[in-house]
């Protein structure tokens, strides 16, 4: 297995997602009623640049994990395309099997993502063997990777998953993802289930490995602090749509979307002078089977105006790399706050 070459050059995004939609059909009752759809992911566009870490945040049920599974092609999208380094995934240019060599995933549940009947080294060596690496070589690579994720091969290679701690198992999962020498790794809540101290170790390991192997990360988490720490850019999702996407520092310092503001103000602060002042989010997110009309956030939005329930906000670029979907930032949208600023908010790229 040779190293994978860069095709489009550094300027071309590694991954481009266009109009990604995933609707899960609901079962009809015997009389044929019902049968709606859960709009888990409903029109998502974004890019992942080469060598960056894109953080994805949002409440439970906002479609983060569905997006991850769609990116990984573990579930079939209803609509939309996934373009990897200029080649459409699943096309003749980039067959699925080849794509899956280049993109790997680490799951949240470190125990459930390892086969309890296989030794650690067999679990890691499975991927390369699927891609035609002889068993001896793939086991050698597995042992090498164990060392790189900080687990001594002599002590761990022939162990079974239940003999390891959560942090050790997640290191194994990371090694397994790297065994195929991918260019991109999707980390779906990969550190969320770990103790804080172990979480910090694993995050540092991830950052080291990223530098060592020149990886690109999609880092999905509900932990806003962790996302800020690891991400170059951050995407905020709400009810299957992108609320806001932009460079991490700019987004955390001056969030443009009311949802992002609410989300960030719910973040506990270590500074007593900097207590939560803005009202944190009240209630649960609405039902994705029957999402609110207009802007999906308007029933919970502190700045909602009548127009928000009628007009679907478009994505407005408010700076390089920065985009927000909110009528406040859409000139002439009819939102009272939008009229005050005819020009879209221009912000400095961080």
């Amino acid at each position: 297995m040779d190293t994978l070459e860069d095709i489009g050059g550094p300027a071309q995004p590694l991954l481009t997602i266009k109009g990604l939609v995933k609707h899960f059909p609901l079962k009809k009752d015997p009389l044929g009623r019902g049968g709606g759809v859960v709009r888990a992911v409903d029109g998502v566009d974004f890019e992942v640049l080469k060598g960056e870490t894109l953080g994805v945040v949002g409440e439970s049920g906002c479609g983060k994990s569905t997006t991850a599974r769609l990116l990984m092609q573990l579930i079939e999208p209803t609509r939309g395309e996934v373009v990897f380094d200029g080649r459409e995934v699943g096309s003749r240019d980039l067959p699925l099997k080849e794509f899956r060599r280049q993109v790997q995933m680490v799951f949240q549940d470190s125990y459930a993502s390892l086969n309890p009947r296989l030794t650690i080294e067999d679990s890691i060596a499975f991927g390369p063997q699927v891609h035609g690496v002889p068993r001896r070589d793939s086991v050698a690579r597995a042992r090498d990777l164990l060392g790189r994720v900080g687990l001594s091969p002599q002590r761990f290679a022939e162990r079974y998953p239940h003999e390891l701690s959560g942090g050790q198992r997640q290191r194994v999962n990371i090694a397994r993802a790297l065994a195929l020498q991918p260019r991109m790794v999707i980390l779906d809540e990969a550190v969320s289930a770990l103790d804080k101290s172990v979480e910090a170790q694993v995050i540092n390991l991830l950052l080291d490995l990223k530098a060592e192997f020149g990886l690109t990360y999609v880092f999905i988490s509900h932990d806003l602090n962790v996302v800020r720490y690891v991400s170059d850019r951050v995407m905020v999702m709400y009810l299957g749509q992108v609320a806001e996407i932009g460079p991490a520092d700019a987004l955390y310092e001056a969030p443009a979307h009311p949802y992002t503001r609410a989300l960030l103000s719910s973040m506990p602060s270590m500074d007593p002078d900097n207590r939560t002042e803005e009202a944190a989010l009240a209630g649960d997110p609405p039902n994705p089977i029957n999402p609110p009309s207009g802007c999906r956030f308007h029933p919970r939005c502190a700045l909602a105006a009548p127009v928000c329930s009628r007009v679907v906000p478009e994505r407005i670029a408010t700076g390089s790399q920065y985009a927000v979907s909110c009528l406040i930032h859409e000139p002439g949208s009819g939102h009272p706050m939008a009229q005050q600023q005819q020009q879209p908010l221009q912000r400095q790229a961080a």
Binding site: S113, R117, L118, F126, V130, G150, Q168, R171
Partner: protein, 300 residues
Amino acid sequence: MSTVLASSPTAVAVEPLPAQRSRGYWASVWLRLRRDPVAIGAAVVVLLLIALALFGPWLAPADPYQSSMLKRLKPIGTEGLPLGSDELGRDMLSRLIVGARLSLFIGITPVLCAFVGGTVIGIVAGYAGGLTNTLIMRTIDVFYAFPSVLLAIALSGTLGAGVVNSLISLTIVFIPQIARVAESVTTQVRTRDYVEAARASGASPFTIVRVHVLGNVLGPIFVYATSLIAVSMILASGLSFLGLGVKPPEPEWGLMLNTLRTAIYVQPWVAALPGVMIFITSISFNILSDGLRSAMDNKG
């Protein structure tokens, strides 16, 4: 690179590990089973029965086919007939011992065949999911809807009497039951993250089933199949009882129960002996499969 890693805090994953070499899954199941005295007792009985089946003809004190009009229906404890004699004056002890072979054979063989067939069908249905699953499982349900005794009798009756035909009909009776279990376990395993991860590494469905699914579903299916051995023995005995299975004068417990039933008022204890053997066998297999189930349930 190793120097960088060694100096970084991520390189240390200090946590004590058990000193002994790690055991495989089945080794730890055996370790837990060993601590379960009831299951071990049942296992010993099962082994004794298997020994009886293998070496019965050499262990039997008398010829199980040798009838005697003078010694008919003698009670237990008669001189030379420790367990009495049957309606044709044959030695019950010898017939019970020699009968173990045929009884166990027609009890276990259908379960083994159904284990293979049902597992394949169940895994295919469970892993494929969707329409394939619906088609396979609804077909299975048609068979499942019949009471198993009725289905076995109907199939045996259609195929005709005989040992081979009764084995075939029992296999057909058990395939749907095992397939159901296999399907439900496979459906659970299919959604585990390690199967997703295997799919994400580009493995074909066949490879995923072979490496990741099979090892995790065979245990529960095996346990269920062990519990069917008792049912199979009773059904097989029932078929023999009805004259659809083993033919006289072969010694087989179900058939012996049948031919001795007319003597139930004359010599009730002797007439009950084949039933006692069937009972001991089926309860031993049941206890053993229960013990196996709890030994395998234990996580970690």
